[in-house]
């Protein structure tokens, strides 16, 4: 971890994410998540210049949406939800499939191999479509009655559970394969010969080797969840639920219950041709977060390579780093019995 702070990629990624999360939490403590609204702009004489939505040039820094709510503040408020959910879902995926994968890869290798064929089926269905089918019944507001069937908390828990569950089969297979691969390595054979029990080898040898791989898989899952959220948002399935307001004249309107980013995108994507910035700003923030996770990932990979690879193959031969010393600065001790003792002990 100490080395991680020296890797520029890792640090940059970390800083961006911490900044976003930190400002988001500070904002909700300081301003209680109230979004400033500018629905009309007047010039100096008090004449109406323009009405919302405003471009980023009119209202800094990112403009406003159709109702005049400032996009920047919405983004900041939404950050903690989007990043938080992605973090939560990815960690749950990893935690569950870590347990299942390690146990499976150690004890039930044969059973897992026969089920991997079924798991393969996941590769032939777009995951966002599958999630949409499962979630739409619960998350969509009933347009006729204007009510949700379930409470906000229930919907949130349900979505997290589903988003976690859809990836469990693939990640479990992945981790069990990794575990199995480590079991096959030479030094495990050595540990076995020396009489290490299975549990001992698992804890002392397998898990430390699995650690770095788990971090990599976790970061990959983080990106995976972010993209999944983005897709679901585009399909008008927003985190925590969607208000659905059928409007035959101006087009149906969907609004997000929380001001989570994918909701901001999904509800405004159709404005892309004329009010480009409204959906583009949250999309760019998605890109930023995915980019910083990628930085973390790449930085971490570099760290591991540095640790496992020999530092450098070149041997530097030069006299310049040989330190010269003055022999007169030393004097030699008589050999004593204590010195002898220490020598034998260390042997």
């Amino acid at each position: 971890m100490k080395y991680a702070l020296k890797n520029p990629m890792f640090v940059t990624g970390m800083i961006i994410i911490v900044l976003l999360l930190g400002s988001s939490i500070t904002y909700s403590i300081a301003y209680d998540d109230v979004v400033p609204q500018t629905s009309m702009l007047y010039d100096q004489d008090g004449n109406l210049i323009d009405r919302s939505p405003f471009t980023p040039l009119q209202v800094a820094p990112f403009g406003t949406d159709k109702y005049g709510y400032h996009l920047f503040d919405q983004i900041i408020i939404g950050a903690k939800y989007t990043i938080g959910i992605a973090f939560l879902v990815a960690s749950m995926r990893i935690a569950l499939s870590f347990v299942a994968g390690v146990v499976g890869g150690t004890y039930f290798r044969r059973t897992l191999r026969s089920t991997s064929g079924f798991v393969d089926a996941m590769q032939y269905i777009p995951i966002s479509l599958l999630c949409y089918f499962i979630l739409s019944g619960v998350l969509m507001e009933n347009g006729m009655e204007g009510t949700f069937q379930f409470s906000f908390l229930e919907r949130m828990v349900f979505e997290i559970v589903v988003l976690t569950a859809v990836a469990i089969p693939t990640t479990t297979t992945l981790i069990s394969n990794e575990t199995h691969a480590i079991w096959g390595k030479g030094f495990i054979e050595g540990a076995k010969t020396l009489g290490g029990s299975r549990v001992h080898i698992l804890i002392k040898h397998i898990l430390p080797h699995l650690g770095p791989r788990m971090v990599i898989i976790f970061l990959q899952q983080l990106i995976n969840v972010l993209i999944l959220l983005l897709h679901l948002g585009l399909l008008k399935l927003f985190f925590g639920g969607t208000f659905f307001n059928p409007d035959p004249i101006l087009g149906d309107e969907y609004r997000s219950v929380s001001s989570e980013w994918s909701g901001l995108i999904g509800s405004t994507f159709r404005f892309l041709p004329y009010d480009t910035w409204i959906p583009l700003v949250p999309i760019l923030f998605f890109v930023l977060v995915i980019f910083s996770v990628n930085l973390l990932l790449e930085g971490f990979k570099q760290l591991i390579e540095k640790q496992t690879m020999p530092r450098s193959r070149k041997v530097i031969r030069s006299d310049s780093n040989k330190k010269s010393y003055d022999p007169n600065a030393f004097y030699f001790l008589e050999r004593t019995d204590r010195g002898e003792e220490r020598k034998t002990a260390s042997r």
Partner: protein, 284 residues
């Protein structure tokens, strides 16, 4: 023959898996886990699959026969998917070659750009394309892509879909290239006076083929997800949007199976080709 048996087993297992997945929407009754409902749903889907010719779908107030109309949707999606993948492979390979022959400071920049693009989600690419199409239209009055058209268009969707897999494949190929170049056989070939281009085309290409195979499933799956979002955003009449618009379990299962079969065949053929060429390499 062992090969055929293995592939057959894989096919059947994945087929059953798709079948089981197709009924998952029946697993939840509201928010409760409903295993009984799932089994019932599964049984009904299988019953309906046996008489698949009689399946219907609703559009507006009318009811239509699902077969053979669904094939049109299927072919459209599959053609776009495979063309984009093949195009991506070719372009990525060309880029890899260009990287291989260019000096190292350019190589560094290529890699940086590829790393940056890896962070672009498909939605971002689609948004950029849409903005680009409008911009071009405003400037030149040339409509590159008519999003509202009902007829099936090919060129633009294939080009757009191939963008992200290209970068993905490029990253993989560059990684393989870096590993291969260090190997003794490349050094040997070089000392024997073989041209760098020939080494690249004959030897490194084969190994690239094999190692892309290990990633092929996830690449195809990733592209499939992209295809879905593209069909949705651009109103393309493909099978995946059809699934989205007709969210019944039987249509979901049937469409998923129809998608699964050609993709499975495609990957299997690719696997066999890659293994064969890699074997030749081992023999040489």
């Amino acid at each position: 023959m062992g090969n055929m048996g293995r592939i057959g087993f894989q096919f059947i297992a994945a087929f059953l898996g798709v079948l089981l997945l197709g009924s998952t929407p029946g697993l939840f009754n509201g928010m409760k886990l409903d295993l009984g409902g799932y089994m019932k749903r599964l049984q009904r889907t299988i019953d309906e699959l046996i008489y698949f010719q009689q399946l219907t779908f609703r559009s507006g107030n009318e009811s239509y026969q699902l077969f053979p109309l669904i094939y049109e949707y299927l072919f459209y999606s599959i053609i776009i998917l495979f063309s984009a993948l093949i195009l991506a492979f070719i372009v990525a390979f060309l880029f890899t070659y260009v990287t291989y022959i260019s000096p190292s400071f350019i190589q560094k920049w290529f890699k940086r750009v590829a790393f940056l693009t890896e962070s672009f989600p498909d939605v971002f690419i689609l948004a950029i394309v849409q903005i680009g199409v409008i911009w071009v239209y405003k400037k030149t009055e040339v409509l590159l892509m008519d999003v509202a058209a009902y007829e099936r268009i090919y060129t633009m969707p294939i080009l757009i879909l191939s963008i992200l897999p290209t970068f993905l494949l490029y990253r993989i190929m560059i990684h393989v290239l870096d590993e291969e170049i260090e190997k003794p056989y490349v050094e040997l070939a070089r000392t024997k006076g073989l041209e760098p281009t020939k080494i690249f085309l004959v030897h490194i290409f084969r190994n690239t083929l094999l190692s892309t195979y290990f990633h092929s499933k996830s690449i195809v799956w990733f592209t499939l997800s992209n295809l879905f979002i593209m069909e949705y955003v651009f109103n393309l009449n493909g099978l995946i949007r059809f699934m989205y618009e007709h969210p019944t379990p039987e249509i979901f299962t049937v469409s998923a199976l129809l998608l699964f079969i050609p993709i499975f065949l495609f990957l299997t053929v690719y696997q066999l080709v890659a293994e064969r060429t890699a074997q030749e390499e081992a023999l040489m």
